[in-house]
């Protein structure tokens, strides 16, 4: 069974790139444009979440906290996308329950390497 990954980002081009990379690797992809949208769309099986941190309506850290509060998604890997200038957010994200991070900009194979690392 193909695994399902949710990608959360307010940038349509990043979302497109992430979704395309994951679909090519055989994953099902759910796209959400911010934290709130992601929470609304979290109503079925999702094996992993990849989320941006800086987003309107609900940011990535708040999303991670909310996801961890739901029994069904308590233990799924959540990867946050950060930029170098947000190094301080990494710790904040980890305390909220993030599994790991990817530093933007990244290449498709770097993304897949991380996905394969946390999603075995």
């Amino acid at each position: 069974m193909a695994k399902t990954i949710m990608t959360v980002d307010d940038s349509a081009s990043v979302r497109q790139m992430v979704a395309f990379t994951l679909k090519n690797a055989g994953f099902n992809v759910i796209e959400a444009q911010d934290g709130q949208d992601a929470l609304n769309k979290l109503n079925g099986p999702v094996d992993m979440i990849i989320t941006d941190l800086n987003m309107p309506n609900m940011d990535g850290i708040t999303l991670i906290k909310n996801v961890r509060a739901k029994a069904q998604y308590k233990f799924i890997p959540v990867i946050m996308l950060t930029t170098e200038s947000q190094a301080g957010k990494k710790q904040e994200g980890k305390s909220a329950g993030a599994t790991g991070w990817i530093v933007k900009p990244f290449k498709p194979d770097q993304l897949l390497a991380v996905v394969n690392k946390v999603l075995r």
Partner: protein, 720 residues
């Protein structure tokens, strides 16, 4: 357009939108300089332009935007006020980004003075210089190629925090990742696991000692733990580099290892060593070291000794790397393993009824061993298909000469492995398919030139693994086949009636009908009594299938799908009345329930009369249909096909199988489950029973018949 171009295009569109958003936010900010939301909007817009820009190769935009973003980060943190000067410069920066986008679009060189003027102006506004952190925005996170070094052995102690699951981390997958780096010996410490009633399943009690020999170096090991290094107690030590420990007669003594690991104080070791008993026992009984820690250290000792043993005798293993065995000995071995798998299944079943913990452990151990034995035995018979492929080169060369054609044969996947029996029996069908491509597919050089193609045609022969199957494709760039012409020919030969409505795919499948030939005239090469029907039959006898796709003028692709082995299949066991059947798992797509009421309604519609007697009058294998999420799927009922006694249950199961690209349901009483099935051929008497391809022996010693699904569907279609 490549995917890269598509991504860049998406970024351009998005950036343009963001710039509009940025502009309006800036103008609003001029009205309400204290509005935090507006500052956030500006920051976010620039942040996205920067992040996505760098990702899609707009490095100059990313670098430029980074400065603007940094300035606004100061504003956001309250370190700078929103002034007219700032807004002017930011608007200028916004225009500059638009200008940079245009330059990227048209390919014009960027006027650096223009961008620099804005950057310098912005930097001047910020207290303290921000020039130095500019570099990090563009420094793309290139993966650093770790150079392969000589193997080194590491001792890794990984103690995750008990709360590690809450961060979505699976510590076991980290151990698996480690094991992929090299030879890995793992000792799991379970001593902290509490009694069952006290276990909190959401906490991680276990921790690990790992001895890893790898050529990837220390950084690769650190990378495995990159996401968790702050949440665990991680110790990585090099215990051997470049054969250090070869200098010693024996690997470190137990006590030495324990002291190095910090499990034992040197003084305690000295004291205990005075007593002359096996050290491990003494240490454990005197309570200075736990039993588990001693075991873990002993595991290290053993692991390193094994590594050294492997290192000192390489020439011996090389000499024994290959051995010739008579084929019938291998066949006998496979037969025996087949018997063993059956016996093992029986034992598992008996043991599961006894509920004896000791027997259960033994039976699980036996299952693991027989699984491994089965896999490695079948593996022995696997041969690369390459030798067959290379034989075809000659065939193509000779034939194309004879027919005055120019043909190039390209092969892919020669290393793909297949069971040797399959390879042997595959030769003839493949030769026939290749001949067809050469004879009927590829045109003569003059015809090709006239059609605007290259003079020489190409045939691509490829093999690849796909799940439990091997797919072999023969692809030519010849003239292809016209579905209508095939249909016409089939009507002439009386294979189909003239008023039949067939899809293109169905037309192509007509070439597999007995007595069909697409050749205009019988040539020396093909049409000598061996038709595609024989090809199809021999591939089906290997439990495979063959499929044709064609585009007139462009070429034809023939795909042969084959199971990896003939000896054992994965099967879905089903039951009808008291009979058990096995459906090959590769064909199964899904299982759904069939409520009898819905079925009666369908029958009522089909016959116009709902009475039970109706059934007896109609053909026994009447084909019906079920609506599966909007798709109409025909099904057959095994109970009727095999005339099983008794009434059918209120809720039956439909196993939906994929046959030749179409979906067909097989209705059974119950689906039991998935099992490895050892195939036994049927005796002479049963060889002609339609719809059965073999038999297997179940765990309880009784027999189950293996369904020949494509045949079953064919028979039913014919009877209708």
């Amino acid at each position: 357009m490549t995917q890269d171009d598509i991504n860049r295009q998406a970024f351009r569109e998005e950036a343009t939108e963001l710039l509009t958003e940025l502009e309006s936010a800036l103008l609003e900010l001029e009205e309400n300089p204290d509005d935090h939301d507006l500052v956030d909007r500006v920051f976010r817009a620039m942040h996205t332009v920067k992040g996505s820009g760098a990702m899609f190769g707009f490095d100059d935009i990313a670098a430029f935007t980074h400065d603007v973003e940094t300035v606004f980060d100061h504003v956001r943190n309250g370190q700078m006020a929103v002034t007219k000067e700032l807004l002017d410069l930011t608007l200028a920066a916004r225009d500059t980004i638009a200008y940079l986008l245009d330059c990227a679009d048209t390919g014009d060189a960027v006027d650096l003075e223009r961008t620099n003027a804005v950057t310098v102006g912005l930097r001047a506004l910020v207290p303290g210089s921000i020039a130095q952190d500019n570099a990090e925005a563009t420094a793309a996170a290139e993966p650093q190629d770790v150079e392969e070094s000589t193997p080194a052995t590491f001792r890794i102690r990984f103690r995750p925090e008990e709360s590690i699951f809450y961060s979505g981390t699976n510590p076991l997958s980290l151990i698996v990742e480690l094991s992929e780096l090299g030879a890995c010996h793992t000792y799991a410490h379970m001593e902290n696991v509490p009694e069952l009633e006290e276990i909190d399943p959401e906490r991680c009690y276990a921790w690990w000692d790992v001895i890893l020999t790898t050529t990837h170096g220390l950084d690769a090991i650190r990378d495995v733990f990159i996401f968790v290094e702050d949440d665990c107690d991680l110790k990585i030590e090099t215990i051997d580099q470049d054969g250090d420990f070869d200098d010693r007669a024996d690997y470190k003594l137990l006590g030495e290892i324990l002291v190095e690991r910090g499990d034992l104080a040197p003084a305690d070791l000295e004291r205990v060593l005075q007593e002359r008993q096996p050290l491990g026992e003494v240490l454990t009984s005197s309570g200075v070291v736990s039993k588990q820690n001693v075991e873990a250290a002993l595991a290290e000792q053993k692991a390193v000794r094994d590594i050294r043993k492997g290192r000192t005798k390489p020439e011996v293993t090389e000499a024994a790397s290959s051995i010739r065995v008579a084929a019938d000995k291998l066949d006998q071995l496979v037969d025996l393993v087949g018997e063993l798998v059956i016996v093992q299944a029986r034992i598992s079943q008996v043991v599961s009824e006894r509920r004896d913990p000791l027997l259960t452990t033994l039976s699980e151990e036996l299952e693991r061993l027989s699984d491994e034995l089965r896999d490695s035995t079948l593996n022995i018979r696997m041969l690369p298909i390459g030798t067959t492929f290379s034989k075809f080169r000659r065939l193509v060369r000779d034939l194309s000469d004879e027919l005055g054609k120019k043909i190039e044969l390209v092969t892919h996947g020669a290393e793909t492995e297949l069971d040797k029996t399959v390879i042997e029996r595959l030769n003839d069908p493949l030769v026939h398919l290749l001949r067809n491509s050469i004879d009927h597919g590829i045109e003569t050089p003059d015809k090709r030139t006239a059609a605007g193609k290259e003079e020489a045609g190409t045939i691509v022969l490829s093999a690849q693994h796909s799940g439990g199957e091997v797919h072999i494709r023969i692809e030519d760039d010849g003239k292809g086949m016209e579905p209508k012409a095939i249909f016409q020919k089939a009507v002439e030969r009386g294979i189909v009636s003239a008023d039949a409505e067939l899809s293109d795919k169905e037309c192509y499948s007509l070439i597999f009908q007995p007595g069909f030939s697409t050749a205009e005239k019988v040539t020396n090469v093909s049409g000598r009594g061996v038709g595609m029907d024989v090809v199809k039959r021999s591939i089906e006898s290997l439990r495979g299938s063959v499929d044709v796709e064609s585009a007139p003028g462009k070429g034809t692709v023939i795909t042969v799908r084959l199971p990896l082995t003939l000896a054992i299949i994965d099967g879905l066991q089903v039951r009808v009345a008291d009979e058990y059947f096995v459906i090959p798992l590769t064909m199964v797509e899904e299982c759904v329930e069939l409520m009898n009421r819905a079925d009666d309604a369908a029958k009522l519609q089909a016959s116009g009369n709902g009475s039970e007697q109706q059934l007896a009058v109609r053909p026994k294998a009447e084909q019906r249909i079920v609506n599966l999420r909007g798709e109409i799927v025909p099904y057959i009922r095994l109970r009727e096909w095999f005339e099983s006694p008794g009434d059918r249950p209120a809720i039956e199961q439909i196993v939906v199988a994929g046959v030749d690209g179409t979906r067909v349901g097989i209705v059974v009483d119950t689906v039991i489950g998935e099992h490895q099935t050892v195939i036994k051929s049927l005796g002479r008497l049963y060889r002609n029973v339609e719809g059965i391809s073999g038999a297997t022996i179940k765990g309880d010693g009784t027999m189950a018949l293996i369904l020949d699904v494509p045949k079953l569907v064919q028979c039913v279609n014919r009877e209708q």
